[in-house]
Symmetry: C2
Subunit: 378 residues, 2 copies
Amino acid sequence: MNLLDVVPTPAAVVDEARMLRNIARMQRHLDGHGVKLRPHVKTSKSVDVVRRQQAAGAEAITVSTLKEAEQFFAAGFTDILYAVCMAPGKLDRALALVEQGCRLQIITDSLQGAQAIVAGSQAARRPLTVLIEIDSDGDRSGIQPGDDLLLEVGRALHGGGCSLHGVMTHAGSSYECSTPAALLRVANQERDQCVLAAQRLRDAGLPCPVVSIGSTPTALSASGFTGVSEVRAGVYVFFDLVMAGIGVCSTDDIALSVLTTVIGHQRDKGWIICDAGWMALSGDRGTRSQATDQGYGIVCDASGSPMPGYVVSSANQEHGIILNRDTPLQQQLEQRFPVGSKLRVLPNHACATAAQYTEYCVLARDGGLQTWPRFSGW
Amino acid sequence: MNLLDVVPTPAAVVDEARMLRNIARMQRHLDGHGVKLRPHVKTSKSVDVVRRQQAAGAEAITVSTLKEAEQFFAAGFTDILYAVCMAPGKLDRALALVEQGCRLQIITDSLQGAQAIVAGSQAARRPLTVLIEIDSDGDRSGIQPGDDLLLEVGRALHGGGCSLHGVMTHAGSSYECSTPAALLRVANQERDQCVLAAQRLRDAGLPCPVVSIGSTPTALSASGFTGVSEVRAGVYVFFDLVMAGIGVCSTDDIALSVLTTVIGHQRDKGWIICDAGWMALSGDRGTRSQATDQGYGIVCDASGSPMPGYVVSSANQEHGIILNRDTPLQQQLEQRFPVGSKLRVLPNHACATAAQYTEYCVLARDGGLQTWPRFSGW
């Protein structure tokens, strides 16, 4: 008898013991480097999860939406970095949070953005706390450390009465690494480029108390954090197959899985049909570009042990097709995986898979089952 | 001044006039063929949308989850086909709906599934209404019409006291077509294989009143529906870029778009950064395998007119990178698309994109803005 036998499928299952191990590992790692951890809560969007990160030593948090900021502030979290460049139309919500006592930090990487922030801040007579986003690897947003725009934006914010709090960056290209050497290179570059930007601001007489960097792969790979105030990381709380492919965790560390029920077979093709399609797994195919493409996820038995070779090879809205990619024509599929039996799927990308659910079904440390709510939307 | 100026981003925008045109087109098409339309509500999961399909003439609906069945039954819809093979663990919920007066039809494609349905039905002393799923194109689930398993399953259900209501199929391979000839072939095959299965059941003395087939591409492509009772189709209500790539609609028919705000630029690369990442657009990359890969979606101006060449070329959780793929190095990006300006993105797959939202922001036929709730989950 398995605890999960009674859980309706599909469900997002969290193995609390694994999650706590992941939380402890990252906290211990950064504590050892003497740098603060600011977890990114976009992965779990769950107060129950983030309280455990907090209990391990992480006070401040990072968010990807103002809804996350609002929800976590309402739950008692006060030190919040909203790590997506501010849209002028969202300033009212940011100002409302500050008004209520939230120590919200926002970011920008443009003069237009800075000017809008200054205008909003002045109109509300409430200085906003702002970091400038730095482009440390050419992957997405941010100002390059050597670009004069950095100083222009800094002066616009500082001169406009905002609190210029520092610089931040995220080396998204770390997700494309697959060797420790490549990870080390990207991690050190992320750190060095952001520290360089901070130095340029300070050399120009502008304040820059904070240097905030990070991603799960770089947080675990940098040779050191000299000059860095804090490290942001999100997906480490659950880990996933993309992270395993990069090499910063093993599949045994993955704390999130999707519980699914077998609903049919195609004997001649060796297919097991289950009720976890892309709605339950997400459409994320992040392992497609890695050395081993894991399809829509690695299939485990109901206890969570990976079954060698079995992946969700294809997904429709509410159907997943499971196949053994090593030995496609498996014998006695119906006897081994009868209709009604349960399986679990390790996800490519925990942030995307978790986002398909309104709650986690938690295999709690105490041996029981718990339900932890999570939220979605903006 | 645009009506959408005040709408927080990202948002799922529905153009009601386009949607009504899509609804009318499919209804008229199938009315003309004298066959019943049973819309699949998994696309919208919105009572407001489906009431408009009902008003156009579609009484009965198709669902992909029991939650959809429960929600739509609570909203007054009584004739519901749950078109995913029944998991034994979900029989209680199906029986509860039947108990309350819902004319629920369920499906199976296996002897194990049929036996579980019979057992559940007998234990509850309530006959369930069951269709057998037919595999018409080797794409996913179902029993091949010539397989003796068809008769075994039919006998198990009929002999076990269930109401054997007929056969159903879905030619998912129609999504891989790109020419009218290929569509016609798949559509006629879907019909012929399902009609053949019905005939085999009837020849064996088993009841088979209903022959249910369909997908949006095949519904619009079959040469006729002789022998067919009803056609199921879902995504036509909004249409999307995958459907446009298949050739069954134009981009002007697409009634769903994602409203997004510009939050930055990378001038040297010609990138516009917006606040619609994969969380807002979904991770669906359904056009990747089509003749024209549309990235994460075609970019339109705020009024909904596609801007030639512009696509969301890359997406992170809350960031989209917009690029003109014809002329990547656009001049004066910041002047033409300032921070704070709004754009709209046509989605690859409307079912997946809509699923990321809890409501639709509707550009209503009457010229106003409306909010229509939608639901998610199982």
